[in-house]
């Protein structure tokens, strides 16, 4: 391939430093019908999250007597990729839906909503590597927007390796040409990992470094998530609502 993954100055093909995130933009409350919603641009990723619920569970036998069921669907639009993606859910999307649900679940206070369902829908309009992490970032903001009780936000970012260099937040080019990808999600105020995956070869040292890069990235995303929520609920940072 033609892309220069790392140049002499140690910069990546898109000019980023090894531990630099792509530009991230988060907008809260973008869909009228949903109880909560958010839109994220994570590099070239464009993802919408919609939360419906707590609501009645259908089919009824899926309801839990003591808590809500959290359901999650991660779906890629057919036009989101280089070649058209078949709209039917793939095995990859089914697995990602499962790990996203398991990444969000520790943060959601499900026992506050017995016998209900909370549905999280993620629609990837354009994908650019790291879409599961961006989806988690977007979903956790949408859950907060829906007013659902949460212990913490969930913040995610991947680290990985291109050539033999550990880097933060791989995009599509780096994901395909790189040699390892490690998506990570955390609850930043509890220092707990809620999602972890790895594919690709990392030495013991590189594993530790990628993990620490991922944590750093997730914490940066956490600040942006908070800013986005502040912006919607308190204007531009100042809690304007109850002044004077």
């Amino acid at each position: 391939m033609t892309a220069v993954l790392l140049n002499e100055q140690g910069l990546r093909h898109d000019g980023r430093k090894v531990d630099e995130l792509r530009p991230v933009k988060i907008e809260v409350g973008i869909l009228k019908n949903a109880n909560g919603s958010a839109y994220i641009e994570f590099g070239k990723n464009k993802i919408i999250a919609a939360v419906y619920g707590p609501k009645e569970v259908h089919p009824k036998h899926m309801a839990l007597p003591d808590r809500a069921v959290l359901r999650c669907r991660y779906h890629m639009s057919p036009f989101s990729t280089d070649t058209r993606k078949n709209p039917a859910p793939s095995r990859r999307e089914i697995e990602i839906s499962k790990v996203i649900r398991e990444a969000l679940e520790p943060a959601v206070m499900l026992y506050d909503y017995p016998r209900t369902a909370i549905d999280v829908f993620l629609e990837v309009l354009q994908s650019d590597g790291g879409s599961r992490c961006a989806s988690i970032d977007c979903a956790s903001v949408a859950l907060a927007d829906a007013g659902i009780n949460m212990r913490d936000l969930v913040s995610a970012c991947a680290a990985g390796k291109v050539l033999d260099q550990v880097v933060l937040d791989l995009d599509d080019v780096e994901d395909k040409e790189g040699s390892a990808d490690m998506p990570l999600a955390i609850m930043p105020n509890f220092n707990q990992v809620t999602l972890f995956q790895l594919d690709g070869i990392l030495s013991a040292e590189q594993f530790k470094q990628a993990f620490s890069y991922g944590l750093g990235g997730a914490n940066k995303v956490y600040q942006l998530q908070k800013e986005a929520l502040m912006k919607k609920y308190f204007g531009d940072g100042e809690p304007a609502m109850e002044e004077s």
Binding site: V99, S203, A204, L215
Partner: protein, 274 residues
């Protein structure tokens, strides 16, 4: 990952008892926290397959079969053979398994096992090319789960790896633009032995090789796969619980340590010396 998780009714008492035992470094079946149940690996049990293995860990039993066929390479990797890993939870495996398409747990299982084999570059797929861009070998690893008692992930993974290590396939050649089978039989081009180690978090304790009973009460699961050089090559956290940062980093050390022991067993059982 457990098929029976939703159905097995384990009372809070049982979990509390387990947590109390674990705090004293003991498990409900008498094992230490980082002990596997007895692992048995047999190869060559299905002569019609290119390679096969039966692996039991405790009462969990699976069979993996390898079939090497020919196929067309993907357009973006014309110089690489194909690898397909699939696992099926047979209805004979437990009272809770139902026939039908794989559910999300079965899909996750197959994909995590696939990840270990693929990402470790165990098979040198560049050597599985008959004619670049046109014909390559396709290695199918299919796993039938016969009996479940926890840790399907490692059992399935070891079965696939053992079957690969013992596999032999017939070479093809291109004659006048057509595929022709030759009499040459070769082992698969293998570079490393990936070994997955699955850990469960119950309360604050980390154990390896959880049984069904332990999976029913676990908070979270972590699978980390190492290669022969001690690199981490694949990983997956599962279930809604969480791991602390230290637990994650220690998990890598546990995976390497246990992986080394199990890699020896795989080598002994298959006679693989590479």
């Amino acid at each position: 990952m457990s098929a029976v998780k939703k159905s097995l009714v384990v009372e809070q008492l049982r979990r509390n008892q387990m947590i109390e035992l674990l705090a004293r470094g003991k498990r409900i079946d008498g094992r230490g926290l980082l002990d596997y149940r007895p692992i048995k690996i047999e190869t060559g049990i299905i002569p019609k397959a290119s390679g096969s293995a039966r692996v039991t860990i405790g009462d969990t039993q699976v069979i993996a079969g390898i079939k090497v066929e020919t196929g067309t390479p993907f357009p973006d990797t014309p110089d690489q053979g194909l690898l397909v890993v699939n696992a099926e939870l047979l209805p004979i495996s437990s009272p809770y398994a139902e026939p039908g398409p794989p559910d999300e747990s079965a899909i996750e299982l197959a994909r995590v096992v696939d990840r270990g084999v693929r990402e470790s570059q165990m098979i040198d797929v560049s050597q599985l090319v008959i004619k670049e861009g046109e014909k390559v070998y396709a290695v199918f690893a299919d796993v039938s789960i016969l009996n479940t008692d926890g840790n399907l992930l490692d059992t399935t993974s070891y079965a696939v790896v053992a079957a690969m290590l013992s596999a032999k396939y017939k070479k093809y050649e291109m004659v006048d633009g057509k595929l022709k089978q030759t009499d040459t039989v070769e082992p698969l081009p293998l570079k490393t032995i990936p070994v997955s180690v699955t850990m469960a978090k119950i309360g604050d304790s980390i154990i390896v090789d959880p049984t069904d009973e332990e999976e029913a009460v676990m908070d979270a699961r972590l699978t980390l796969t190492s290669d022969s050089n001690g690199n981490m090559v694949a990983g997956q956290k599962g279930e809604p619980g969480t791991f602390s940062f230290d637990q994650m980093l220690n998990g890598a050390d546990i995976s390497r340590m246990k992986g080394e022991e199990i890699r020896k067993m795989l080598k002994e059982a298959t006679g693989f010396t590479g």
